[in-house]
């Protein structure tokens, strides 16, 4: 990839030029640029976006536009990558439809090379277990935005244990009301305070570690 192409990809994601993204992806593929090279620039760009988000220089609108831009840019490359950093099953717990954070996590993990099975929102709790089994997942992630549905995260973990899956997959939780304290109390292997930290967390879980990564602004 030449310098001009690099700048084009980087600028598109950092500035959330969602309407240009697919066209740029197609032009790169037509030019014979490998998906790994595109992914490397996307990671550079998302590191920039993630840093500015964590510093509160930008907020959700820009983060969402950046995420959609890189996803659109990768559309022409879907299915072209043979390797994966790991397999993750991800969803929002039953009775909760708030999936914006989960979508960001899914998008970020895809950029970083993980194969993500996105179960969506309002996911029946048994489905987390079924999909973990069916996909040979390394990590199962569940989130919720509502205080009322926080106990569902514990139920998913109990179901993984009952199915004999607990030693085979790592279980991570997240969502606005979820905290390190809560994650540890229910016995989850990991917690991330935002989508950027979620990538770091999955990396730790893939190494077999536990990790609880609160956003620096929060205190729990």
């Amino acid at each position: 990839m030449n310098e001009e192409q690099y700048k084009m990809v980087y600028d598109c994601v950092v500035n959330g030029k969602i309407n240009d993204a697919t066209k740029i992806g197609e032009s790169l593929k037509a030019a014979g640029i490998d998906s790994k090279d595109v992914g490397a620039v996307l990671i550079d760009a998302m590191n920039n976006v993630g840093h500015r988000y964590r510093e509160r220089e930008i907020a959700l609108p820009q983060l969402i536009l950046a995420t959609h831009s890189f996803k659109k840019m990768l559309v022409p490359y879907v299915g072209s990558s043979a390797s994966s950093s790991g397999v993750v099953v991800m969803g929002v717990a039953q009775n909760d439809i708030h999936d914006i954070g989960k979508n960001l996590v899914v998008g970020m993990l895809q950029v970083y090379g993980y194969k993500v099975h996105d179960l969506g929102k309002d996911v029946p709790l048994d489905k987390f277990v079924e999909q973990a089994k069916a996909t040979g997942a390394n990590v199962v992630g569940a989130g919720t935005l509502l205080t009322a549905t926080m106990p569902e995260l514990d139920t998913i973990l109990q179901k993984l244990k009952a199915a004999g899956m607990k030693d085979k997959v790592k279980f991570m939780v997240g969502g606005a009301p979820v905290t390190t304290t809560f994650a540890k109390r229910i016995g989850a292997d990991g917690y991330a305070g935002d989508a950027i930290l979620a990538v770091e967390l999955v990396g730790e879980l893939m190494k077999g570690n536990q990790a609880y990564l609160a956003a620096s602004e929060g205190r729990s």
Binding site: R56, I100, T147, A148, V178, T181, G218
Partner: protein, 348 residues
């Protein structure tokens, strides 16, 4: 100051930063009201009588000073055409959004609170609670701000993108929703409410920048609070998240109180008291995500004592409360423990 105030007097005095006989307490009881009243969440969301019964039952079991008759986020949104999903035992959920394209913002119309959506359920509940309990309780139902309402009628991700890509269209919708909310608050005050728990939930740094919230949130919030004040109502701004735009909200000319997740955000009750306590009532101190659902009464008592010591230093300007709605799994004894802690540690 009266030596013994009614709960209604106590809450209003705290919000106006006048001396109180003791720290008032809110349980932030929304869905749990259905469990307290022994009715289904579906009935609770659709009947003012059932909602009132549930709220009164919660008050009887806990002794809180302040009630927030509320069932779910769809009470106003349903009026704009959002389809809800009702299932027994669950909080009704937004199922199909009404705004799916930027052009749809312009199609929203000003609602009649007595006819459209389920705003009338809350209005009926307020009348019944006030009629039965009089001044034994203060009533401030949940009312979503225009930007919060926008994320109830449209997929939040789309709203966030419209802030950047389609700001003019979004503003059209926000203006319409703003007009509706002013009318709704008029009705709840007429019904006997003391004000509104005004949900400014998107005023947090992980959702909007302060500049974005100023343009798409604050400009409408201030207009609504001005109307509330003219009607003689109080307000508590309710903000979610870990980096609330506390300074921006506290500088609203007519804001009375701010409810935030002090136990999970970047601002403790003590810090808020020091920085903003001279102009705003602090509503918080209890952790709905851990202590209230994982702990017992003694844990709640300790947490309440610490919060009161940090936030009630001048004998006013604090309401002991969770940072958001409490889980339906919360045991009533834990909320009762908060009230008892206020009676023990929060007396002047």
């Amino acid at each position: 100051m009266k030596t013994e105030m009614s709960p209604r007097e106590r809450v209003i005095a705290a919000l106006q930063r006048e001396p109180v006989d003791r720290v008032p307490v809110s349980g932030m009881a929304w869905t749990i009201g259905a469990m307290a009243g022994g009715c289904s969440t579906k009935e609770y969301a659709q009947s003012g009588a059932k909602m009132a019964k549930g709220q009164i039952a919660f008050w009887e079991k806990t002794g809180v000073d302040l009630l927030h008759p509320t069932s779910d986020m769809g009470q106003t949104a349903e009026g704009w055409g959002v389809k809800m999903r009702y299932e027994d035992g669950l909080t009704p959920m937004l199922d199909v959004f009404a705004v799916n394209e930027p052009e749809d913002w312009e199609k929203l119309t000003i609602l009649d609170p007595m006819r459209d959506g389920r705003m009338h359920v809350t209005i009926d509940a307020i009348k019944e609670i006030r009629g039965k309990l009089g001044d034994k309780v203060s009533i401030m139902p949940y009312v979503p701000s225009p930007l919060t309402s926008a994320t109830h009628v449209c997929y939040m991700e789309q709203v966030m993108m419209d802030i950047v890509l389609n700001p003019d269209a979004l503003h059209k919708g926000l203006r319409t929703m703003s007009d509706t909310i002013v009318t709704y608050i008029d009705e709840i005050l007429d019904a006997g409410a003391d004000g509104a728990l005004f949900a400014t939930t998107r005023a947090s740094g992980e959702i909007t920048t302060e500049e974005q919230y100023e343009e798409f949130g604050a400009v409408y919030d201030r207009r609504i609070l001005n109307a509330v004040k003219k009607q003689g109502g109080e307000n508590i701004l309710h903000v979610c998240g870990v980096t609330p735009h506390f300074r921006l909200l506290s500088e609203y000319p007519n804001a009375n109180g701010i409810n935030w997740w002090d136990r999970g955000s970047n601002l403790t009750v003590g810090q808020a008291k020091e920085r903003y306590g001279k102009r705003i009532c602090l509503v918080g101190g209890l952790d709905q995500t851990t202590t209230l659902i994982l702990g017992g009464p003694e844990d709640v008592r300790k947490e309440a004592k610490q919060a009161i010591e940090a936030g009630f230093t001048d004998g006013t300007g604090m309401i002991l409360a969770p940072g958001c709605e409490i889980s339906p799994n919360t045991i009533f004894e834990n909320v009762r423990a908060a009230v008892e802690a206020a009676e023990e540690f929060g007396v002047r």
